[in-house]
Symmetry: C2
Subunit: 225 residues, 2 copies
């Protein structure tokens, strides 16, 4: 963001931030393996060795990228939680899947760096906040009688596994991303019968809709890059 094309002084001024920004670019373009130190340095207009003044090695650079991406992800998700209505589960799940679809390579990085038992302290905070908010949301739903009285942690884990799996299946092109919204709604409705209490259910017949999987070759469905 602050590349300082004019003059090209010896000292960049804000190399670390610029390096991370260019690394995120490369991540979005071609995944984590496309984030090479040299290419990042090239885009920042510095020598191939310059990044090593600020990051011990490539892994450290990727860790910094993970923190930036994690912060962005957490912000988007928390915004979805707070702006959602009384039964925000669908909105939250939709937001999660949408983020994965919009930034598939970031999602892959988040999987290994944030949705993992090994997190940096900076990520730990955002993740804990998100987990706490989600659990509170579930407990509140139970207090309002919308959710079954099962263990909130179990409900959270199960819902997250469902959303996690759907996101990954869309990203992997196993499911047609164009039908993401439809599928999310239908899956939530189907499994929601087990989670939502009577009050929260939608009045819907058994054979609501027919789903189309992307089993047959379906060119031009996912428009990533």
């Amino acid at each position: 963001m602050n590349t300082r094309e004019a003059g090209r002084p010896y000292h960049h001024g804000s190399l670390p931030q610029a390096l991370v920004a260019h690394a995120v670019e490369l991540l979005d373009e071609g995944g984590a393996e496309a984030v090479t130190v040299r290419e990042v340095a090239r885009r920042a207009g510095v020598s191939p060795a310059a990044p090593f003044r600020h990051f011990a090695d490539r892994a450290a650079l990727l860790a910094a990228v993970s923190e930036v991406v994690a912060a962005d992800f957490a912000a988007v998700q928390l915004a979805a939680v707070s702006s959602a209505g009384s039964v925000p589960f669908r909105a939250l799940g939709t937001s999660f899947v949408h983020y994965a679809l919009a930034h598939p390579h970031r999602f892959a990085l988040l999987r290994t760096a944030v949705f993992s038992a090994v997190r940096t302290p900076a990520m730990e905070e955002g993740h804990r906040a998100f987990t706490h908010a989600t659990t509170e949301m579930i407990i509140a739903g139970q207090r309002r009688g919308e959710l079954r009285q099962a263990d909130p942690e179990l409900i959270r884990i199960a819902a997250q596994a469902l959303v996690y799996g759907l996101s990954q299946m869309f990203v992997d092109d196993y499911l047609d991303a164009a039908r993401a919204d439809d599928l999310i709604d239908q899956v939530v409705d189907l499994f929601g019968l087990g989670v939502l209490d009577e009050h929260g259910r939608k009045g819907e017949g058994p054979d609501a809709g027919v789903v189309q999987a992307a089993d047959a070759p379906d060119p031009g469905a996912v428009g990533d890059r």
Copy 2:
């Protein structure tokens, strides 16, 4: 498997198979990125250029690895389906998660190579067979009155998303792998209320059990490498 240490003749005899076998070894040890052409050649006892006589490039070698792994995975899953009892959903999901936990790097490869819209013809067959078997299993369950009369494709996709997500969360160490079996059972019970019809339900109270997530640092849980 057929490395012929004795004599070391000029011609290996079965280099392609040996290369793929060593590549699978490397995959299991360090993931797809650890599968380097040179290391595979080294383990097979041939020159670094020899593999290129049989595989156009590294991607072709990995594709061959994908086919072998896909065949193994399909065999294991189909065995789980056929050996399962009358309501085999739990057994099938458990088998899926167990495979992912036992071979996390294979699971990652399968995700991008097999659980994807772009498959080689060889994989297409196995995958189609598995999908068909699963759907037939669901339809049979519906005929026996064990499952709700929702679209079988929707049920299959939703169940797969749940299993997919749980597997990935275990592999990513987001959930404690030691509690995999417990969590699978509890999650299936919870969401099963939406899928299983009255006959298939287990008589169980609302607060069945408490789940432990691996949120807190929990060293020495997943024993992969």
